[in-house]
Subunit: 535 residues, 2 copies
């Protein structure tokens, strides 16, 4: 970076907010995927005004900026820029909860606001409102996830869908307020998201057209009553019934949130690490008979569903009745867990543990998984999904503040969208599984209903990042799986930085149009060059 | 229009698809608002390929095109272009239902597909699926309404929200497929709308960036059970309770569709025409005591709510229980109407009519209104809302094929968004009502829940378009109401062509950005110049 630019940043921000020391910068290049990122510096603005000045300085000195919220886009590149020599604009210090409206049930937040922070705030204020947390953990940014169009599994799970109004710093330093936000006296910016005229918000998600400095998000009133339903099939083949039932339950709005269908192997990665002992030190992948044995001991089915019910007591009762009817004879297990039941089990663990032992279940361990998954669906962020990246590590998983990037875990997320019907679902599995197996990796499938008509398959590719050969295999496997998915029509809804160049290459009117918009809004290519974009 | 251009169009299209005869063109300039439109010609392509050729011809000869679907944007300008001397691109002959997927519950449709056509198709195919009809009537375009971000009141009421994937002819003649649609083999274009990379669809609604030639829309499975709930308050002041209850019922998802709260005067416009006789030929507006007397006779409350319940029998039962609890002591009437009850009343009309007479109700007339409103909420398009524009006419309302533009009815739609809480709602009424009254018009308010946090107030300004003085008053009233709403922060979600120039004028980053995008996608300003746009 030019010395003048560094001086300009130092004049603008306080000294500890401009980081150019190589060691200090290391944390921004930590990642779960192999990267060879070089970054020039990191700067940490505290206000929208500072962000405006930053883009003007960047324009003046021909710099590339790479804004991150908290930079924890694990398995997709974390904080790493797509191209070399960017300056990280670390927005984590812009962490104000600007407004919470209890009556109309929304919040306005800055990029640095974490899931845990928002959760704690809502609890402390006793608003009667809840957020939708993703599985990405307490320390992740709510805004960052929204801009990537991430999702959770409560009724407010589609984060972009529940966003109303954005404040965006454009590459020319101006501020764009979307929706009704640009009407001086608007009372409805957070209540109706489309505004009037072109609905612009979508183009500022999964893109590089501006720096988003705040958004409005809708919050969900805590339901009067809540229960979670867990169900499992003994056989792989049971998936057929689960897929068809899931679609029926969603299309008919019996279920207001999402439904998750998890393969046995995916659950194993949540509960244990790769069983090096049982595998007698043998190289992965996990053998089928050992996987089966462990799963049986832990009472994990071939496919395992989870769905939460939110509503009045009467409603939940009515929904339970329908779910029982729909899933009858399709599962070997169908359990409803209420707050009271879970509390009871926790309280009398000493009593249920021996019973569990007789039944071959480790109740203590079950509760360890059940409680955070249960709470997650009630809006409490948890680290329950974070052990997965540690699957192939030989050192133990940290007890808390889990950070897979910092710990150099090997993880690629692949997230193809799959039609919610059995033929496609089967064809999809038949497409990806052989590639995973061929390269020596487990196929840890979760199907999450992202719409009433489609699953997103969150598919972690787990590898040992300390092993260079395995890392190379993983990268090959990743690209083959993604290509096969695109070829077959199961397109990922989101991509890691390692895929961005492939994504936008070739003749394609869609990327032409996107490039045209980029060129209009950021002709010098200041912001996140190459991120979901040719420029 | 240059002779060469006309020749080019005539070479491209069959002769009867190029209209330049002044008399034949008249139907495009019919409108419920005063207009002084001049159009050069109308052309009626049958295929996307023809649309592509049309934009290239327009580019060559410097023409402005104004695409319409069926052109029935009544009260907002109908088919009339914003600026002079456009060529209407009438897409009504592109009326193919390209695909209906019964399993995954969606359709792909062209611009000319009407509500009635889609309804009939779904009924004939016996799909078990329903559409969400707007009140705009059977002959209106589904796609056209979606592009204006119109809405209905079933659970699929937000038409833009249930759209997945667009095909758009750009000003350079290329075809843009949005969402996943540009991936060659995509199996998920109609199942997950965002695609990957910037979500572009929003910018092609309420704008002039391209010509949309098809869209995917989600269809709703017909519910196992259905009931409609009608409730009314005696006093104007009862609105407070209704607003707070509405918000609670929606935020807590007791109600899956929308809730409508209609003022007495709005209902009068649906049931009768201006009572010239009772008013003894006196000039409008309607006197309070006469309005009251008629309303009492027809058993219309001061505020009247309607909400529909969709679900299994158990669910609807559970929801009814909650609704009864929430509205208890807040309404003088709270009736649930099921299919069976309505059929019974219709069948034994001869028996209930005398009973109704005793109770002061005209059951025959009640059924006349109840049946189509009931069916509308079950997905059957109807003309039930179409009498409103005839309010001040002295000739009777046509029995069917109602077309207010053709009949020269006087109607401006004003559609401000209002926070769903009582203080704002009251303030809103206090803002608009005096202006209506001052100019001699009735304030016919409906509050429709367009989100769980906001009402859209559909506010028809009804006037006698054959009366030049009244038309002038209406125009003045319209502009004053719109200005007052914007000033107070109740911004309309949609505008008529008469407001477009005002809307985009002045320094505003939002309209700068929109203009930038327009300039990129349509640098010659071929498509719908001035529509929600500076260019």
């Amino acid at each position: 970076m030019k010395q003048e630019a560094l001086i300009a940043f130092n004049q603008l921000l306080d000294p500890c907010s401009v980081i150019s020391d190589k060691n200090e910068l290391l944390k921004y290049t930590q990642a779960c995927i192999p990267v060879d990122t070089t970054i020039q510096a990191a700067i940490k603005p505290k206000t929208t005004k500072e962000v405006q000045s930053i883009v003007l300085i960047a324009a003046k000195y021909g710099l590339s900026l790479y804004p991150i919220s908290t930079g924890q886009n694990w398995g997709y590149g974390s904080a790493n820029p797509v191209r070399k020599d960017n300056i990280i604009v670390d927005l984590s210090m812009m962490n104000k909860i600007i407004e919470v409206n209890k009556t109309l049930a929304y919040a306005v937040i800055q990029p640095g606001v974490t899931q845990e922070q928002l959760y704690q705030y809502l609890e402390k204020e006793n608003c009667g409102l809840m957020m939708d947390p993703t599985g990405s953990g307490p320390s992740c940014s709510v805004l960052g996830n929204t801009l990537e169009r991430g999702y959770g599994i409560t009724p407010y799970g589609d984060h972009f869908d529940v966003m109303s109004g954005m404040e965006i710093v454009l590459a020319n330093g101006e501020i764009l307020n979307t929706g009704f936000g640009h009407f001086k006296n608007s009372k409805v910016t957070r209540l109706f998201k489309y505004g009037t005229g072109p609905y612009l918000d979508g183009i500022f998600t999964q893109s590089n057209f501006g720096i988003v400095t705040s958004i409005g998000i809708w919050l969900m009133p805590k339901p009067e009553y809540f229960e979670t339903c867990y169900f499992s099939t003994k056989e792989e083949d049971g998936l057929k019934d689960l897929v068809e039932s899931t679609r029926w339950l969603l299309l008919n709005r019996i279920v207001k949130g999402s439904i998750n269908l998890m393969h046995r192997d995916r659950i194993l990665t949540l509960m244990i690490q790769y069983p090096w002992d049982e595998m007698k030190g043998k190289k992965p992948p996990l053998k089928e008979d050992i996987a089966k044995r462990i799963a049986e001991k832990k009472d994990i089915g071939a496919w395992n569903g989870v769905v939460s019910l939110y509503g009045t007591k009467e409603e939940v009762k009515a929904a339970k009745k329908v779910i029982r009817r729909v899933l009858k004879n399709k599962c070997y297990r169908l359990n409803f867990v209420s707050d009271n039941l879970l509390k009871l089990v926790e309280r009398f663990e000493w009593a249920v543990t021996p019973i569990g032992k007789v039944m071959g279940m480790d109740v203590k361990e079950l509760i360890k998984v059940l409680r955070p998954s249960f709470d997650l669906m009630k809006g409490k962020p948890s680290e329950i999904s974070l052990p997965t990246p540690y699957w192939r590590m030989k050192k133990p998983i940290p007890k808390k503040n889990i950070n897979p990037a910092k710990d150099n875990c090997g993880l690629f997320w692949i997230a193809p969208v799959v039609p919610m019907e059995i033929e496609s679902t089967k064809d999809f599995i038949a497409t990806v599984k052989p590639i995973f197996t061929q390269h020596g990796f487990e196929t840890c499938i979760t199907f999450t209903a992202v719409t009433h008509r489609a699953f997103d398959c969150t598919l972690p590719l787990l590898y040992d990042k300390d092993d260079a050969t395995e890392t190379e295999s993983a990268l090959k496997c990743y690209h083959q799986v993604v290509s096969a998915c695109i070829e077959k029509g199961y397109i990922p809804y989101r991509f890691g930085i390692q895929s961005m160049e492939d994504l936008v290459k070739g003749k394609d009117v869609f990327w032409d149009v996107a490039a045209g918009i980029k060129n209009t809004l950021d002709p010098k290519g200041i912001i996140s060059p190459g991120r979901y974009s040719r420029y």
